[in-house]
């Protein structure tokens, strides 16, 4: 058996290379586009957005007390507050996608119940810092903002829908036990809340100004003014950051921070660049052609029709996106003629759902609730895509 397999692999490889259509434009161009896309990301997005974003993610993981947030998702929390916290807490709790599902299961079984658990599940992957930063940087701040706001609002709506659909069941189901946090985070390391806040502000400030986009020609407003001095502002924040690091942090705190940033980088970066490669290969850079013809994309998800939005939502719901890879893929799609509305629909339905995580969700809440959840996500993503598409045009 082993030997047979080898024979097949060798013959297959031989045939593949023998017939490789190296001369054909249709073959060479997608390969070129894939490399060009990687080149573009390496030049434009690594130094000023990805590296600071990973450092911020590492800092959130290391220095913010997640338990302070989790407290508000317990069984005894006021329900309104629980929904609110569940919908926004993804930004500090889910730097790594592998933490979303345990949290969801925990909130559902031992905490605030079905509604808040669903709200968290929906908004978490969309509003973590890395996702927001890269969406805004690559796809434009409008889409970044729409993604964050859309995710938060719709997470509450979907959570409430689920709660009321399964109201009777929820009432019978008593939350058993309380949440465990283990030992609380070690001493607050002698920094005040304000000092920690300044630390985060200095990192975010550097990133925002270093990435300040070129204003449109003829724009004389505040935006253009800031653009002229953006490097001074960015450097000022960078200096503030260095000052804070030297004066307020002990050496043994800096190492774990860098270590957790590094571990996020290791986890996310290889898949992200693989995603960029394939986005380039299949779709090409904006304005260029990849393997999939632009007119094909434009027919399916161009414009802002119901069918385009619906199709984008369905595809997003079932397809698996590794953390952040939805962004280059979407960039390729938009470049090939996808409308802004369907783009948002895909961004909202995409990272929140995929076939593998549907299966895990099903193991936690059962088939019926999972089905209704998927249906709600697809409907909400379609609607928000339509609304956004109309506003933007």
């Amino acid at each position: 058996m082993k030997n047979q397999l080898k024979v097949f692999v060798i013959i297959g490889g031989f045939l593949l290379f023998y017939f490789l259509p190296l001369e054909s434009f249709g073959f060479r161009n997608p390969i070129f586009e894939a490399l060009a896309m990687l080149n573009m990301y390496a030049r434009e997005h690594v130094i000023f957005s990805l590296i600071p974003a990973f450092l911020i993610a590492g800092a959130i993981y290391q220095f913010l007390d997640q338990n302070a947030v989790l407290k508000y998702l317990g069984a005894k929390t006021n329900k309104v507050l629980a929904y609110f916290v569940a919908s926004v807490s993804g930004s500090v709790l889910t730097v790594c996608s592998c933490t979303v599902l345990p949290l969801f299961s925990g909130i559902y079984k031992k905490g605030a119940g079905l509604g808040p658990a669903i709200a968290f599940l929906y908004s978490g992957p969309a509003i973590n810092v890395l996702a927001i930063i890269l969406t805004a940087r690559v796809l434009g701040w409008q889409l970044g903002l729409a993604r964050a706001v859309g995710a938060i609002i719709f997470s509450v709506i979907i959570g409430l829908c689920m709660h009321f659909i399964f109201l009777s069941e929820e009432k019978e189901r008593q939350a058993n036990g309380e949440l465990q946090f283990g030992v609380n985070k070690s001493d607050s390391d002698g920094r005040t809340g304000v000092q920690n806040l300044l630390y985060f502000i200095s990192m975010i400030g550097f990133m925002v100004f270093a990435n300040w986009a070129r204003p449109q020609a003829g724009d004389q407003g505040l935006w253009a003014l800031i653009f002229q001095v953006k490097w001074y502002l960015a450097i000022a924040f960078a200096l503030l950051f260095i000052y804070i690091l030297i004066n307020w942090f002990k050496k043994q705190e800096i190492t774990p921070w860098l270590e957790s940033s590094w571990s996020f980088t290791q986890q996310i970066l290889p898949l992200l660049f693989l995603g960029i490669f394939f986005a380039g290969l299949l779709l090409g850079r904006p304005g260029e052609e990849g393997l999939i013809p632009s007119r094909f994309v434009a027919t399916l998800v161009g414009g802002n029709s119901i069918s385009a939005n619906f199709f984008a939502s369905i595809v997003g719901a079932f397809m698996y996106f590794a953390t952040l890879t939805e962004i280059p893929i979407l960039q390729g799609l938009i470049g090939s003629g996808m409308g802004q509305g369907p783009a948002l629909a895909l961004l909202l339905a995409g990272p929140a759902l995929s076939l593998p995580n549907m299966l895990v969700i099903r193991s936690v809440v059962g088939t019926k609730k999972t089905f209704i959840y998927v249906v709600l996500v697809v409907i909400m993503a379609t609607i928000s895509g339509m609304v956004y598409g109309n506003i933007i045009q």
Binding site: C96, S105, G106, I107, F181, G182, Q267
Partner: protein, 79 residues
């Protein structure tokens, strides 16, 4: 003594397991390290942030990689 590591197999859980291993070796005690990877069981402990470390059924840390030193101090309190 039974040390359980809760986590669905992300790199941080492996690091936690490593640290627990080191702690045991350094103390030279008899202890069993068990990996708990099923979401249901993790939730049973009330843990939401992984990795988590449980010593004899008691959740010691959740959502953080404990250092070898920390694990040693928990084990010593238990003894």
């Amino acid at each position: 003594m039974k040390i359980e590591i809760l986590g669905m197999g992300c790199p941080k859980c492996k690091k936690t397991t490593q640290n627990a291993q080191l702690a045991i070796e350094e103390l030279g005690i008899e202890a069993e390290i068990v990996k708990v990877e099923e979401l249901d069981k993790i939730t049973e402990y009330g843990v939401m942030m992984t990795p988590a470390l449980v010593i004899d059924g008691e959740v010691k840390v959740a959502g953080k990689i404990p250092s070898k030193q920390e694990i040693i101090s928990w084990i010593e309190v238990k003894k």
